[in-house]
């Protein structure tokens, strides 16, 4: 360690761990600690990093670069990184223009902090910085074709009637005529923006008793025909119709034409529930005034212009002489009707929460609302930016406005029945919206993560109020859509499904290339100054979101867990479905962290153990971890490399072809999966207790991996149970035993 004169004890755990790594790493970390200072609620750690540099450099980065890291004591934000070099090249993208108190700020992090901190071990932190310098030196930091970022960071005649039961009031809000055909729109409330000059029609509503749906009646063409039909259904057209004509509105505006609207609730069977409403609309040829006189309820003096009630009423004309013109009635859609018309077999509404109203979220929410899925609470704290409009529901008018609110507004325009509410919040830091978010989670049948953020996915997985979670996201080049869903009992949580998804991405040949466009040091999409949002054709987005919407409806109908990817070939437009098996898991909760191990992995170790008997066997373990949540997922066991040495009393794991194998898994899982420890078997009768040799393995792992901040495991598979010992600084190592036969 090269220590300068100033050496305070850092207060933040992250700075403490960094210092530990730099001073205790088993192998040289290509970074040297210079000093630690504490000032203004920040730990300032100065170090010199040694990036890997080619001889030819686009930007003159040096073999040793002095930097300062500024850590927030409460770990509320990513550590800031400053160059301490006075002559650090100016005018570089991804640096600040001004040199501040601590030096020129380097824009190292592309992810939001909640995602980044999941895996930012001290080693990863130093490596990210070294890699930044390396890429800067070769001019690879800002990729060709990457979009420029904003300077300031960053949402016959037709009558249309309302959905559902007939309203108590009818208001004609709009009427248009095209090629001599009218379209008239009605609403339960007057519309403030009804344009002047819209022809006005009087509306006579008549509600009939409920009818059981049955044979079709003949259409009436005159008032008498309608009267007979209404009478047959238990109504009284003439009396109520006559009373209507002496109402003040009709007497006042008597020149208007009128609608007769007859509505009846429909039943499937007598005594059953109302399944829907049927409304007929008729328009007589005469005006209100003329009709009132013809049916004997009003008097009209043409000379004086007087119109008033006729007392007592006179005898109506022959009602057959009052012709009726039938109008096509279209009822706006409520969710129930939307389900019916979209082939959604759900019996009622589901309550859903959408986290993220971006490319996937906004489109899938809109699609499923069209299918009457239920109600959505849309949670997002971002605003709409111009490039979003290519792929999201929102258009130009929404630029600069909150994504959640604009999505809600657009979605609520899709059906006659509002389906969405919104909360402008970051679910990981909801602040004043915490209660609203909690309420939405608790009320939801399904909370869907559309955020493309592993941190959000992990948050949902852990959240006790969530009844069931799902996640839908694109792969990095937008050609594949993935859906992960918990089962109804949450026996498999989202993060456990995600870990197995990454294994499928790494090992399932059907998913070859799925994550090829990902950078190993990033998590899915990022949205900061090095935004790698790639060009994404809207047709591709719509195709996959359309498919995903359908699957989301199926998820609600089926309580099982689900792992699926749809792969779209942009050349042929063919879509291939890849369903990957999701295994059950065993969970071990240690005092300071927890671990899951898949049933498939346990079975695999047991099988390898039996196959090698009487010799011991073993290999390495593959898994992922979340630093912030303290979770380790173990998903695969690699069998013994061919140069391993096996005997009934010992096992020495070889190395032949191991590194490329593990590196391949890491690359194909976008850097998510990696080596996480060693496993070996014990013969029958030996039990799982670690031997003296095993303790040597443990010491070896601790020496090499502990200072890096990554977790490490030693797993011993015996006949009936498996021991798992886990180390993860700064916590105490812990161990647990899994019984093969009993969950």
């Amino acid at each position: 360690m090269s220590v300068g004169t100033e050496q305070d004890a850092p207060e933040s755990v992250r700075a403490q761990e960094l210092v530990a790594y730099l001073t205790a790493a088993a192998d040289y970390p290509f970074a040297q600690l210079v000093s630690v200072k504490v000032a203004n609620a920040r730990d300032l750690v100065d170090l010199v990093v040694e990036p890997e540099l080619a001889q030819d450099r686009v930007v003159p980065i040096l073999n040793s670069e002095p930097i300062r890291l500024s850590f927030h004591h409460e770990d509320l934000c990513a550590p800031q990184v400053f160059s301490q070099r006075n002559n650090f090249p100016l005018e570089l993208v991804h640096t600040t223009v001004d040199r501040g108190e601590h030096g020129r700020c380097l824009c190292i992090w592309e992810e939001n902090w909640s995602d980044l901190r999941r895996n930012l071990t001290p080693q990863a932190l130093v490596e990210r910085i070294r890699d930044w310098f390396s890429r800067m030196a070769r001019g690879a930091l800002h990729q060709d074709g990457q979009p420029l970022e904003p300077l300031i960071p960053a949402a016959s005649d037709t009558l249309v009637i309302p959905a559902g039961p007939p309203p108590t009031e009818w208001h004609l809000v709009y009427a248009t005529q095209h090629q001599e055909r009218w379209t008239v729109i009605t609403e339960p409330q007057p519309h403030p923006n009804t344009p002047p000059g819209v022809p006005q029609f009087a509306i006579f509503p008549l509600r009939l008793p409920a009818q059981v749906h049955g044979a079709l009646h003949a259409r009436p063409y005159d008032l008498e025909g309608l009267r007979v039909l209404v009478d047959s259904m238990g109504g009284d057209l003439v009396r109520s119709f006559g009373d209507w004509f002496v109402g003040p509105d009709q007497l006042r505006a008597s020149e208007r034409r009128m609608f007769l609207l007859v509505s009846t609730p429909m039943l499937k069977a007598a005594g059953g529930n109302i399944e829907g409403w049927e409304t007929w609309a008729f328009m007589p040829a005469e005006s209100v005034r003329e009709l009132g006189v013809r049916i004997g309820r009003t008097l009209y003096d043409a000379e004086s212009g007087f119109l008033g009630p006729r007392i007592p009423p006179g005898s109506p004309d022959d009602l057959r002489g009052i012709k009726l013109f039938g109008w096509r009635v279209v009822q706006r859609l409520d969710r129930a009707r939307a389900r019916l018309l979209s082939g959604n077999n759900a019996r009622g509404d589901s309550a859903l929460v959408a986290i993220g109203a971006g490319a996937v979220g906004s489109n899938i929410v809109a699609n499923t609302v069209r299918a009457g899925i239920g109600t959505w609470t849309i949670i997002d704290d971002d605003i709409v930016l111009p490039h979003n409009t290519v792929r999201q529901l929102q258009g130009n008018v929404a630029v600069g406005l909150p994504k959640a609110e604009t999505s809600r507004r657009l979605v609520n325009q899709l059906l006659a029945e509002g389906a969405a509410t919104d909360i402008r919040a970051d679910v990981l830091a909801p602040g004043g919206q915490a209660e609203a978010v909690e309420r939405a989670f608790a009320a939801a049948d399904l909370v869907v993560d559309f955020s493309a953020s592993p941190a959000v996915l992990g948050h949902l997985a852990d959240h006790p109020a969530v009844k069931r979670g799902a996640s839908m996201f694109f792969n990095p080049d937008g050609s594949d859509l993935v859906v992960l869903a918990e089962d109804g009992e949450r026996a498999l949580r989202l993060d456990e499904a995600e870990a197995q998804y990454f294994l499928a991405a790494a090992a399932d040949p059907r998913l070859t290339g799925h994550l090829d466009a990902a950078r190993l040091d990033l998590v899915r999409y990022a949205n900061a100054c090095q935004d790698l949002s790639r060009p994404l054709p809207p047709w591709q987005v719509q195709t996959l979101c359309g498919i995903g919407s359908g699957r989301l409806i199926s998820v609600l109908a089926d309580s099982g867990s689900l792992g699926l990817a749809w792969r779209l070939d942009p050349e042929t437009s063919a879509v291939t479905t890849v369903a990957f098996e999701l295994s059950g898991v065993r969970r071990i909760v240690f005092p300071r962290f927890r671990l899951t191990i898949s049933e498939v992995l346990l079975a695999k170790m047991c099988k390898l153990r039996r196959g090698a008997a009487p010799n011991e066997t073993g290999g390495v373990l593959i898994g992922s971890f979340d630093l912030r949540r303290g979770v380790i997922h173990v998903v695969d066991a690699v069998p013994a490399p061919p140069d391993s040495r096996q005997s009934p009393t010992y096992f020495i794991r070889g190395k032949k072809d191991l590194q490329p194998l593990v590196d391949g898994l890491t690359v194909r899982s976008a850097g998510t999966l990696g080596y996480i420890g060693e496993w070996h078997s014990h013969p029958d009768g030996a039990g799982v207790a670690p031997s003296r040799d095993d303790e040597g393995v443990w010491r070896h792992l601790r020496e090499h991996i502990d200072p890096t901040g990554s977790p490490y495991l030693m797993v011993i598979c015996a006949a009936s149970e498996t021991l798992i010992r886990a180390g993860w600084r700064p916590h105490e190592a812990a161990e647990g035993v899994v019984d093969h036969g009993r969950r």
Binding site: E52, A54, Q55, E127, G618, G654, L658
Partner: protein, 366 residues
């Protein structure tokens, strides 16, 4: 991408070049580590080499720049030698072609490793295959005639200074080797000075149109280098002494720079200054295959005065001076791995952690 490796073996040499096309060239092999000394920080060279070779059982070219122990220690235990059955079989690594200076064939009165390797060189030379001998002193012809071999029949396996090694070419291998030394005169005297009759070469790699040049200079002293510079410039071959990587001679001995150590920094002759100060390319890398640079004056190399000169040169050209026993740290030296690509050279700086665990076998579990 080609890979050049130097190993932390103290004041000794071993440089492995792995070409993009899979061919390998090993310059010297001196496994110096004392297996009985736990504090010995020098690497287990045989293990390192076998790990790299993996399943391969043969190296295309093994060059012994000269036969000093610090260039061939344990070579007879690791490589298959064709001249005697006791050096054959098992897991010995085969040498397809051996490169040696003429002195390695002609030296007399030698013992140990050197004698065994001389026997192998002579065996291959007499049989006329599996060897290339550098320089053609009269004594070499005499050696052949004494064994009833027409020297003209061996001309194809002798390469003179100022020419290329025919085993490799840019088109097929992405590299060419230009021989600067030895000259014939180095092995024609009564007494052969091994260090000065050693191989001195320039390897010029080409990747994506970018040439990266590596100078391998063994243990030659400043007078030989001065002469190499003179002759090379005379023949208009100055480009053959440009370098992006320079394996500085004789473990950073001042004697490879000048007759005098100098005060604080060795001052080389004019011609050597030209070699280091003008022929070194921007970002150039100087590699000292040596023990850590001492802080005090010492008799044995490395000499801090020579190191001071090399460091200054490295600084002037924006490059670096790397000492094998100090890379990446003096406490835990590791092999120096240099990638040769379209952007010149790049020193690989891989950190440890789980990657280090996977790279190696695990300890015994029971």
């Amino acid at each position: 991408m080609h890979i050049v490796r130097f190993f932390p073996i103290g004041n000794a040499d071993c440089c492995l070049i792995e070409l993009e096309n899979g061919r390998r060239i090993l310059f010297d092999f001196a496994d110096m580590r004392d297996p009985d000394d736990d504090t010995d920080q020098r690497c287990d060279l045989e293990k390192e080499l076998r790990d790299i070779l993996s399943d391969a059982k043969e190296i295309d070219v093994v060059a012994f720049t000269h036969l000093d122990t610090d260039h061939c220690q344990r070579a007879r235990d690791v490589f298959e030698l064709e001249h005697a059955d006791k050096y054959k079989g098992g897991d010995r690594i085969k040498i397809k072609t051996m490169w040696v200076p003429a002195a390695a064939v002609l030296e007399k009165g030698i013992k140990g490793q050197a004698r065994t390797l001389r026997a192998e060189a002579r065996h291959r030379f007499i049989n006329g295959k599996g060897i290339r001998v550098f320089s053609r002193p009269d004594q070499l012809d005499e050696f052949l005639r004494e064994r009833d071999i027409d020297p003209a029949k061996r001309r194809n396996i002798i390469t003179d200074a100022g020419t290329f090694c025919p085993e490799f070419n840019l088109a097929a291998d992405g590299v060419e080797f230009f021989v600067h030394s030895p000259f014939a005169e180095h092995a024609d005297g009564e007494i052969i000075v091994r260090n000065n009759s050693a191989l001195f070469m320039q390897a010029a790699f080409e990747v994506g149109g970018r040439k990266t040049r590596l100078i391998l200079s063994a243990d030659v002293d400043h007078e030989v280098i001065d002469n190499i510079v003179r002759v090379t410039k005379y023949y208009g071959n100055g480009e053959r002494l440009t370098w992006d990587i320079n394996n500085v001679p004789h473990h950073s001995s001042y004697r490879s720079l000048a007759a005098e150590k100098g005060d604080g920094e060795t001052e080389p002759s004019k011609r050597l200054k030209w070699l280091y100060e003008e022929q070194g390319q921007s970002g150039g890398l100087l590699v000292s295959t040596s023990d850590p640079i001492p802080s005090k004056d010492t008799d044995q190399p490395p000499h801090r005065e020579a190191a001071a000169y090399y460091k200054r040169i490295a600084n002037d050209i924006g490059g670096s001076y790397v000492v094998t026993m100090e890379h990446p740290t003096q406490g835990k030296p590791k092999p120096l791995i240099i990638e040769i690509g379209g952007g010149g050279h790049k020193v690989r700086k891989s950190v440890g952690g789980s990657a280090a665990v996977i790279r190696n076998a695990a300890p015994r579990a029971g």
